[in-house]
Amino acid sequence: MGQRDKRQTISTGFWISMFVILLFLFLYSSSGKAADQENCQLCHRYSGLAAFVPETGTKKIFYINEMIYRKTVHGNVQCTHCHPDVKEIPHKPAKKVDCGLKCHVKEPSTDKDFSHKPIVDAFKAGAHGQSKLFRYEDGQPKCKYCHQNPIYQPMRGILAKHKEAEEESLIRCLGCHEKDEWTKRFLNHFVSRTAPRWGNKEIVDLCNTCHANEELMSKYMLDTTANFKETFHWRNVKYDMENGAHCLSCHAPSSLGYTAHNILKSSDPNSPTNMGLRTKTCGQQGCHTAPTRSFVKGTLHGAGIKVSLLNIKLEEEKHVLTEKDTADLKAELKFQKTEQLKRRIIWAIKLFYKIMIILVPGTMFLHQMLDLRITLKERKEGGH
């Protein structure tokens, strides 16, 4: 091989290498560009990006892992769609996100800008969204309390009987839909929404983080739900029974058209836990068949703290309460006292049996041990 051929070979190799490197850079940058067109990752890619909040004494982390973010349900939403007040780099502290904003993602059925506003409105009409009820900052749940921008769920249940079912579906989709990224995301969204994201046990635990907290519930004159886990409803929930009744089964039953976002106070006549609708709620498909009014009367959970709370309220506010309010509170107090008495009776039955379970089998065990001792002795002496 001559000197000239050798130079030509090196030159060809150089240009091929450059092409491969440029192609890689192009592909890499194009995928990054789709997620971060505003270049927010310039700063937010650093894992140490955080700030101390003196008011709450907590640390806020502003690091965003782009690879993970891209796999989440909001992965195709640009940062400024939720943070519209951020217009420059570096920016001032961003305002809290309003989930009712319109983002620039198109809702495919109407081709309009997508928004969670209908859900936010329903939430605001419900017990958890009525700000005037929440006199304390730590009590009111916000969207982010339940929704943490989750990663899309894989195929589950009967759909996932083949391990590669999701990949096979994607291939079928791509037969007609040209855009890979869009098609994959659409399929992920569809698959993820075929099953509820929250398991029944997770729903109970999520609600219990606040509602089983006696101190927090006392602030809002509510009884706690700590003893829900002593009920038969919970036993069915913990074993993943299809009809295991969790919190939403009664407080927002989907089969009766309610959603978790507009849970109403039980005093609201439209609430599924209101006495007027309870027989319908308890008698929904898969639950109790034709329940009577006496069956649905009373509370299912509660530790009885409401009696003392009502007593305090009546005493402290007796000068400012109207006659009607006082009468209502007294009626509520009477009802709660009856409920408390019922719980005490059940507690007494349990205590009686607990003592019996220790005493009776304990005495029996002692008796049988004595019998064993004497029988062994007799056999030894009797030689048989």
Partner: protein, 275 residues
């Protein structure tokens, strides 16, 4: 009829439980055990159940409810049969009469405890049923009634006030727990673990008990039987290792009688007439 367990050919034995009683006992203990297993599944920690059944936990738990109900019906049938047997048959009425707690049982209980503690030289002489069996039967009856009433309320829950259902559920769970512990300790020791009985008292299979055990555990009743049949003199030879040919013939009579479910008293009266 095949002889079970460690029962030797040369041992004498008699019908402790007739065929009806054996079947009743078997229906009741099998359904009781299955009810405990299916019932306790809802009480034991979830992790244990998941460890046992893995991904089949949910279907198993769903079937648990149906099976619990089916076994409850089985137990109910067994109990109704037993009550009818006690009420409408001579044997049953005799069992009922013999198994009722009497003042002497409390005296014997005290005497037996003193004996076991070494504070009395001899143990009391028990009749057909000792105080242990009578107490077990009595508490078993009370427990079954409680379980049935509360279980029925729980099954028909929507027809009752919620508080009544909650009270019923509490009684049901606690009574079942108490009964399970009591049976495990009391009955299991008496018929399985007790020296001389281990690994099991085979009377639950064929209803028969050796005369040797009867003499040891129910001497008063043994004496009645032996006296009625003129066995007292022969009884002196019972400990002999090789029985005579006459004894073997008597054993055969007992075996065949037991297999046919003939009442022991009828046999006794028949023998007396022959004599």
């Amino acid at each position: 009829m095949k002889k079970w367990g460690r029962r030797a050919e040369d041992q004498e034995w008699f019908v402790r439980l007739n065929r009806t009683e054996v079947w009743q006992h078997n229906i009741i203990w099998i359904t009781f055990t299955l009810l405990v297993l299916t019932g306790m599944m809802s009480l034991i920690p979830t992790t244990w159940v998941v460890a046992m059944f893995g991904r089949y936990t949910a279907p198993v738990y769903r079937w648990r409810r149906y099976l619990h109900f089916i076994f409850a019906i089985g137990l109910f049938i067994g109990c109704v049969w037993h009550i009818a047997y006690l009420a409408f048959t001579d044997d049953g009425r005799q069992v009922f009469k013999d198994i009722l707690l009497k003042p002497i049982d409390f005296i014997q209980m005290k005497e037996n405890v003193l004996y076991m503690l070494g504070m009395r030289p001899e143990k009391p002489k028990f009749d057909r049923y000792d105080y242990k069996e009578k107490l077990e039967y009595l508490f078993g009856c009370i427990g079954t009634v409680v379980i049935f009433i509360t279980g029925t309320i729980m099954t028909l829950a929507p027809l009752f006030p919620k508080f009544v259902v909650e009270v019923a559920a509490t009684f049901h769970l606690m009574e079942a727990t108490l009964a399970s512990f009591a049976i495990s300790i009391w009955h299991f020791y008496a018929v399985h673990l007790k020296p001389g009985k281990f690994p099991q008292d085979t009377s639950w299979i064929d209803g028969k008990m050796t005369m040797h055990h009867l003499k040891e555990e129910h001497p008063v009743y043994y004496e009645k039987i032996a006296k009625e049949r003129g066995m007292i003199n022969r009884d002196k030879r019972m400990d002999s290792p090789s029985p005579t040919s006459d004894d073997k013939n008597i054993n055969k009579t007992y075996v065949s009688s037991a297999a046919e479910g003939i009442d022991i008293k009828e046999r006794q009266s028949g023998q007396e007439e022959d004599l």
